[in-house]
Symmetry: C2
Subunit: 206 residues, 2 copies
């Protein structure tokens, strides 16, 4: 079995949304061998750092939080869809020929995976494509950018997905991943009552 | 397939090591619907909060960090061993009759799993038991306490395990778990260059 790690590495100098300093993770040493006999680190980060899942509360007031997510929701099948020719937005037409099955995680591989820095012109998912994915009754959709939409007023892509119980994964790394079907593992950290959670996502190939 | 979540929930009021305030995770809202149109949270926590893995740097100066951990190390088999009768320390004699196999994750179920608060008298793993586990060439050992040893000068249990490439999982929750063999999934968050990392651990039962 081959294991593909599709997660971003969390480090202080990593790419963060719109290069905002407030979004940079902080690592602070908090125990030392000299004094405590051990080495420890405290970390501070925004929950939308690196590879993470968005829950409904992120864009929907009163929406569901991490508390409703079951581990089994994040263990299943993934279809990696080749969208590397898309320049701006992935539309319904870009997805209609993909062999999407009910309960799949649909992972969108785009030109975003080729860059490690934050690209203000990142490829995103258009609302009509989000609505198409809702109609396919998938488990979740993932993209290789730190956002699944880009400056769209009132975030219609998020709302279409989150309002219909579809999880959103952001911050995937898919550059070396062949577009096809895999087993998916990516159970998020067990945080109480929040709008997003970091996770380590891997694909398994028999 | 049945999925058992054996992770602690990370929340501000959770149990932390020796009830130290500095170890309590902090959740701070950092974006609001009124102003930014979304809800976001920043979190601060010590890397030894809740369910986590220790890497060698935690107790061994110059030791290996999270950078050497491969996802495949954390996908495998687990043997949950019943140690619920142990009052103080799990010794070699308590483990010799367990059906431990090479490359197993050995998860120690103790009376710790029955309490949700921090117990200063938590059951821990004695050095001779750690050395026995090293001899069995296991992948890692886990315990249902926030430490795998308790006030032992120079942390010999940690050093015996970490010095021999055995991962240590702390903060498991095993109260409802039947002692037997499972599939194990618990890939840690992908943090660069640190001595520990949080993870979501689950057991799969066919």
């Amino acid at each position: 079995m081959k294991i593909h790690d599709i997660s971003m590495t969390i480090r202080p100098e990593m790419a963060v949304y719109k290069n905002r300093d407030a979004k940079r993770p902080k690592f602070v040493q908090s125990a030392w061998f000299d004094t405590q006999g051990v080495y420890e680190t405290d970390i501070t980060f925004n929950l939308h750092t690196g590879t993470h899942v968005d829950f409904p509360l992120h864009t929907l007031p009163g929406g569901a939080t991490s508390d409703v997510a079951k581990p089994g929701d994040f263990i299943g099948t993934a279809l990696v869809v080749d969208c590397t020719d898309v320049i701006q937005a992935i539309t319904k037409a870009d997805l209609e020929h993909a062999a999407i099955q009910e309960d799949d995680w649909v992972l969108l591989k785009t030109r975003n995976s080729a860059v490690e820095t934050f690209d203000f012109e990142f490829v995103y998912l258009a609302k009509d494509a989000a609505e198409y994915l809702v109609s396919k009754r998938i488990r979740g959709v993932g993209i290789d950018a730190l956002g699944i939409e880009r400056n769209q007023p009132n975030h219609p892509t998020h709302d279409a997905l989150l309002g219909n119980g579809i999880y959103i994964l952001e911050g995937l790394r898919l550059q070396t991943i062949e577009p096809k079907r895999y087993s998916f593992l990516g159970v998020p950290l067990k945080l109480a009552g929040v709008e997003a959670a970091p996770l380590r996502a891997v694909l398994l190939e028999e």
